[in-house]
């Protein structure tokens, strides 16, 4: 009787420990996911901001330009990959792995948006990919990064 009672207590204690461990693991996973989402959104903002400021980079990315590049190869590489500003510089690196133009038949095949494929390489954790649509319209700039 005493043996079975002790066994019951031992099993209860083990199951409480397992539940506590699972809860902590779940919270860590949520924190990682939130950090990953924030990092990807931030990287998309940084890249989109640079593209809006330097529109000559758009045909360069699309390989449709003919002539002298508007920025150096080094600046181009910095656009396509980088880190977040301090203090998040050690969180990881982002990379633009794909850039697909979206043209509108109604606007004479004008470039109206671009799909940006971003990869996030965290310092700790798995690599994540996400696709963002960068809205671009001719004339006054109207656009933004869509998650």
């Amino acid at each position: 009787m005493a043996f079975f009672g002790a066994l019951v207590l031992l099993l209860s204690s083990l199951s409480i420990q397992m539940a506590a461990l699972q809860s902590r693991a779940g919270e860590f996973s949520l924190r990682q996911r939130a950090q990953r989402d924030d990092a990807l959104h931030s990287a998309a903002q940084i890249v989109a901001g640079q593209l809006h400021q330097y529109p000559c980079l758009l045909p360069l990315l699309l390989k449709e330009w003919a002539g002298a590049p508007c920025v150096s190869a080094q600046a181009m590489a910095a656009l396509l990959s980088g880190t977040l500003p301090p203090p998040d510089v050690d969180l990881g690196r982002y990379e633009v792995t794909g850039y697909t133009p979206v043209r509108s038949a109604g606007a004479g095949l004008a470039l109206v948006a671009a799909d940006l494929e971003l990869e996030w390489h965290p310092t700790r954790g798995p690599i994540s990919q996400r696709r963002y649509r960068l809205a671009l319209l001719p004339g006054p700039i109207l656009g933004g990064v869509q998650p």
């Binding site: 009787m1 019951v8 924030d38 998309a44 989109a48 901001g49 977040l84 004339g139 006054p140 700039i141």
Partner: protein, 131 residues
């Protein structure tokens, strides 16, 4: 069955009941804490989402204006607009300007801090026009 067995049985039963009541209480407390953390996490998400919302409003208000060339000034104006908006209850928000970018840091008790960087240029508020 003798007296010792009865006493041992009673002792084991009491210990088991006490343990299960403690477990029940702990799981209730955990569930309440979890619910509170969830609502705090959602409040933090709202506090962060206010940033892009303000930028979109500023973009819509500036439809016919030529974009400014001075991105740091535009970023600073965005920061001032954000500071006028109180974050959700239980959450504190801090803004930091770094060149053309603004970071929104959101903190709350017992929940990890979140930070997201925003670029007013990405919303067409500054920089050159796209042709």
């Amino acid at each position: 069955m003798n007296l010792v067995d009865v006493l041992m049985g009673g002792l084991v039963f009491s210990l088991a009941s006490a343990s299960s009541l403690q477990l029940y209480g702990s799981s209730l407390r955990w569930a309440q804490g979890h619910e509170q953390r969830q609502s705090t996490v959602m409040a933090m998400e709202r506090a962060i989402a206010e940033g892009p919302h303000i930028l979109k409003q500023q973009r819509d208000a500036a439809l016919t204006d030529a974009p400014s060339m001075d991105c740091p000034s535009v970023a600073s104006a965005f920061m001032s607009a954000m500071k006028d908006i109180a974050p959700p209850a239980g959450v504190s928000r801090e803004l930091q300007l770094q060149g053309d970018l603004v970071s929104i840091s959101v903190t709350a008790p017992a929940v990890p801090e979140r930070r997201r960087w925003l670029s007013p240029a990405a919303y067409g508020l500054c920089g050159r026009s796209v042709r």
